[in-house]
C-alpha cells in the first residue's frame, strides 16, 4: 500500500477515535465537575430543609417535593393515556391503515416539537383557555384560581411532552409478547379484550414501567415547559392543592445561576442542586436500562 494512503488512513481512524473519546471525556468531565463542586454541600439536612437567608443557605427540600409532585401527577395522567394509545396502535389497528399512520405521525411530530412551545401551549390552552373558563364557571366573580400557573397545568404540559416516550416504550413491549400466547388465548375462547387484559398486559408490565421511568426522567429534567406554567423560585409553602405553584430542582438551578442576587456565594448550593438533579436522572435512566435488559433476557428464554 502506498505510504500516503496508509498515513491518510491512520489519520482518519485516529481522528474518528479522537471524536469518540472526546465525547466520553466530555461526559466524564461534566459529571466530575458537578460532583466535585457539589458533594460537600449535600447532607441529610440539605435534602430535608427549606432554604433560608434569602436562598443563600439551608436546603432544597421544597424543590425536591415540587419535582416529585410534578412527575407524580404527570405520570398519573400520561402513563395511562400513553399505554392505551400504544395498546390500540399495537393490537387494534391494521398497521398500514390511515388511522395507524396518522397516529404515528402525530406521535413523531409531538416528539419533535421544542419544549418551549409546549410551555406556550400550556399557557395558551391550559391556563388561558381551560383555566380561565373553569374560573368563570366555578370560582366566583373575578377570582383567579385556575386561570394562573399552577402545578396541575405544568404537570399536564409535561404529560403531553413525555407522551411519545411512553407510547414508544409500551408499544415495543406489547410487540415483544409472542404471537402464540395471544393465539392460544383466542383459541381457548377468550375475547380480544380479555386476551389483552389478562395475557398481553401482564407480560408487558416491564415495558410499561420502562416507559413510565423514562417519562419521569425527562419530566424531572425539562425546565423550559414549566418556566411560565407553574414553577416559582421562592414559595413559602410546599404545594398543597392543584392550583398552587411549586418549586422545582431544574428551575431552581436556572434561576439561582442566572438571576439570583448573589450568584457567587450560592455556587455551592447551585452545584449541589445540579448534583441532586443529575443523580435523580441517573438513577431513573439506569433503572429503565436495567428493566429493558431484564425484559429482553426474559423473552429469550
Amino acid at each position: 500500500m502506498k505510504l500516503s494512503k496508509k498515513v491518510l488512513g491512520m489519520g482518519i481512524i485516529s481522528l474518528s477515535g479522537f471524536c469518540a473519546f472526546l465525547i466520553i471525556g466530555a461526559v466524564i468531565f461534566i459529571m466530575a465537575n458537578v460532583i466535585i463542586g457539589g458533594h460537600s454541600v449535600i447532607s441529610w439536612k440539605f435534602l430535608t430543609c427549606n432554604p433560608t437567608e434569602g436562598m443563600t443557605q439551608g436546603g432544597i427540600f421544597p424543590a425536591i417535593v415540587g419535582t416529585f409532585f410534578l412527575v407524580l401527577i404527570m405520570s398519573l395522567i400520561g402513563v395511562p393515556v400513553g399505554t392505551i394509545t400504544a395498546i390500540y396502535l399495537a393490537e387494534y389497528v391494521k398497521q398500514e391503515s390511515w388511522i395507524a399512520k396518522s397516529i404515528r405521525f402525530a406521535v413523531n411530530t409531538l416528539a419533535g416539537i421544542p419544549a418551549i412551545v409546549f410551555g406556550l401551549f400550556g399557557l395558551g390552552f391550559f391556563i388561558q383557555f381551560i383555566g380561565a373558563n373553569m374560573d368563570k364557571a366555578f370560582s366566583g366573580q373575578g377570582n383567579l384560581v385556575w386561570g394562573k400557573p399552577s402545578i396541575l397545568w405544568a404537570s399536564l404540559t409535561m404529560a403531553l411532552l413525555t407522551l411519545p416516550v411512553v407510547i414508544v416504550s409500551v408499544e415495543e413491549a406489547i410487540k415483544a409478547v409472542p404471537r402464540e400466547l395471544r393465539e392460544a388465548s383466542l383459541a381457548l375462547g377468550a375475547t380480544k379484550w380479555e386476551t389483552i387484559l389478562r395475557i398481553v398486559l401482564p407480560n408487558s408490565v416491564t415495558g410499561i414501567l420502562t416507559g413510565a421511568i423514562l417519562a419521569v426522567s425527562r419530566g424531572a429534567g425539562e425546565v423550559a415547559p414549566i418556566l411560565f406554567t407553574g414553577a416559582a423560585y421562592f414559595l413559602p409553602d410546599i404545594p398543597t392543592k392543584l392550583s398552587d405553584q411549586f418549586m422545582e430542582l431544574g428551575y431552581h438551578v436556572y434561576i439561582m445561576a442566572t438571576q439570583s442576587t448573589n450568584v457567587d456565594s450560592t455556587a455551592g448550593i447551585q452545584y449541589a442542586t445540579t448534583l441532586v438533579l443529575l443523580l435523580l436522572t441517573f438513577i431513573l435512566n439506569f433503572s429503565a436500562i436495567y428493566l429493558r435488559f431484564w425484559m429482553r433476557k426474559r423473552s429469550f428464554q
Binding site: 481512524i13 477515535g17 459529571m31 458537578v34 402525530a106 409531538l110 429534567g221 418556566l227
Partner: protein
C-alpha cells in the same frame, strides 16, 4: 370412521379437518359481535386519538394568541403593532420606544445552531464511523453507554456546566471579550445534539447489509476506505435524517442558550458576541409580559415560527427518509 383401516395419526387429522370445515361453515369466518368489546375498542380509539388531537390543539392555541399581531389589532402602550414591526432591526420590546424586530433573534438562533451543528455533526458522524468500523469491542462498550448518559443529561445541567466551566475556559483560552457568547452557547448546545446525530447515524450505518462491507474488503479496500467511500454514502438517507433531527433540536433548545449565550439581542455576524435566540426570548420574557399585550402576542408569534420550523424539518426527515430508504432497499 369405523371400518376404515387408517393409520393412527391419520384418523385424528381427518376428524379435525372435518370439524374445522363444520366450524368455518357455521361462522363464515367472522367473529361474534360483542357489545362490550365494541365499546372498549372505540373508547381506546378515542384516547389514542388524543395525541393526534393535541397536535392540532397545539397549533390552534399557540396560533390563537398570536392572531392579534397578524391581523393588526395588537397594541402596546404606544399604539398598534403589526407584522411590519417584526422587520425592525432591533429587539427592545421593553423600552420607551419599543422595537419588535425579529431579525436579531433569528440571526441569534442561526448563529448558535450553526456553531452547534458545525461541531456536533462531524464529531458525531466520525464517532459513529469509529464504533461501526474501527473500534475494538471494549471501546464500543464504553462509548455507547457514554452517549446514552449524555443523552440523559437534563439541558439545565449542560447549561449550568457551560455557564460555570466552559465559558471561563473559552474566555481564557481564546481571549474572548465576552464570557457568554454565541460560540460558547453553540459548543454547549452541541453536547445536547451529539447523542441524537450519533444514534441515528450509527443506526443507519449498522442496517447496511454486511455483504456490502465484505464485498468492499474482498475487492481490496481498507477499513477506512470502505467506511468513508462505501458505507457512509450508502447510509446517506439516515445521515441526512440525523442532520435534520439534530438541527431541529439545536434550533429549538431553550435552557442551554438561556444560560450560556449572554442573552443580548445583538444583530451582528460575529460569533463571539452575546446573542439572544428565539427560544430564549420566549423563555426569558414570557413570565413578565402583560397578558394580551403586543409583546405577549409577539412571543407567541415567535412560538408559531418555531413550531412551523421544527414541524417542517420533522416532516421532511420522515417523508424524505422513508421514501429514499424504500427505494434503496426495494431495488
Amino acid at each position: 370412521m369405523a371400518g376404515h383401516p387408517l393409520p393412527k395419526g391419520e384418523g385424528l387429522k381427518v376428524s379435525m379437518t372435518r370439524n374445522k370445515e363444520k366450524a368455518t361453515k357455521m361462522n363464515k369466518g367472522k367473529s361474534k359481535f360483542r357489545l362490550h368489546e365494541f365499546i372498549i375498542e372505540k373508547s381506546m380509539a378515542s384516547i389514542a386519538f388524543v395525541s393526534f388531537a393535541f397536535i392540532i390543539l397545539i397549533l390552534i392555541f399557540v396560533f390563537r394568541e398570536a392572531i392579534p399581531l397578524i391581523i393588526g389589532t395588537a397594541t402596546d402602550d404606544f399604539g398598534k403593532v403589526t407584522l411590519k414591526n417584526m422587520l425592525a432591526l432591533a429587539w427592545q420590546p421593553v423600552s420607551n420606544s419599543p422595537q419588535y424586530g425579529l431579525l436579531p433573534l433569528i440571526v441569534g438562533s442561526l448563529k448558535v445552531t450553526f456553531v452547534a451543528m458545525g461541531f456536533a455533526f462531524p464529531v458525531a458522524i466520525l464517532a459513529a464511523l469509529f464504533t461501526s468500523t474501527f473500534a475494538p469491542k471494549w471501546a464500543k462498550e464504553i462509548l455507547k453507554p457514554a452517549i446514552e448518559i449524555l443523552a440523559g443529561f437534563p439541558s439545565v445541567v449542560i447549561g449550568f456546566f457551560a455557564l460555570t466551566v466552559l465559558a471561563s475556559f473559552f474566555q481564557h483560552v481564546l481571549g474572548l471579550r465576552y464570557r457568554l457568547n454565541a460560540f460558547t452557547g453553540g459548543i454547549a448546545l452541541s453536547l445536547a445534539v451529539i447523542p441524537i446525530v450519533y444514534t441515528v447515524a450509527e443506526d443507519a450505518i449498522n442496517v447496511l447489509p454486511k455483504t456490502m462491507r465484505e464485498a468492499s474488503y474482498a475487492l481490496g479496500a481498507t477499513k477506512w476506505e470502505t467506511s468513508l467511500f462505501i458505507l457512509l454514502p450508502a447510509a446517506t438517507p439516515g445521515v441526512f435524517a440525523a442532520l435534520l433531527l439534530g438541527l431541529g433540536r439545536a434550533f429549538g433548545e431553550t435552557m442551554i442558550v438561556l444560560m450560556a449565550t449572554g442573552n443580548a439581542a445583538l444583530l451582528s455576524p460575529h460569533l463571539f458576541e452575546p446573542v439572544r435566540t428565539m427560544s430564549a426570548t420566549i423563555g426569558a420574557e414570557m413570565a413578565e409580559v402583560v397578558f394580551g399585550d403586543a409583546h405577549y402576542n409577539t412571543l407567541f408569534f415567535i412560538g408559531v415560527c418555531l413550531f412551523m420550523f421544527s414541524f417542517s424539518l420533522n416532516a421532511i426527515a420522515e417523508l424524505f427518509i422513508r421514501n429514499k430508504m424504500m427505494k434503496r432497499f426495494s431495488n
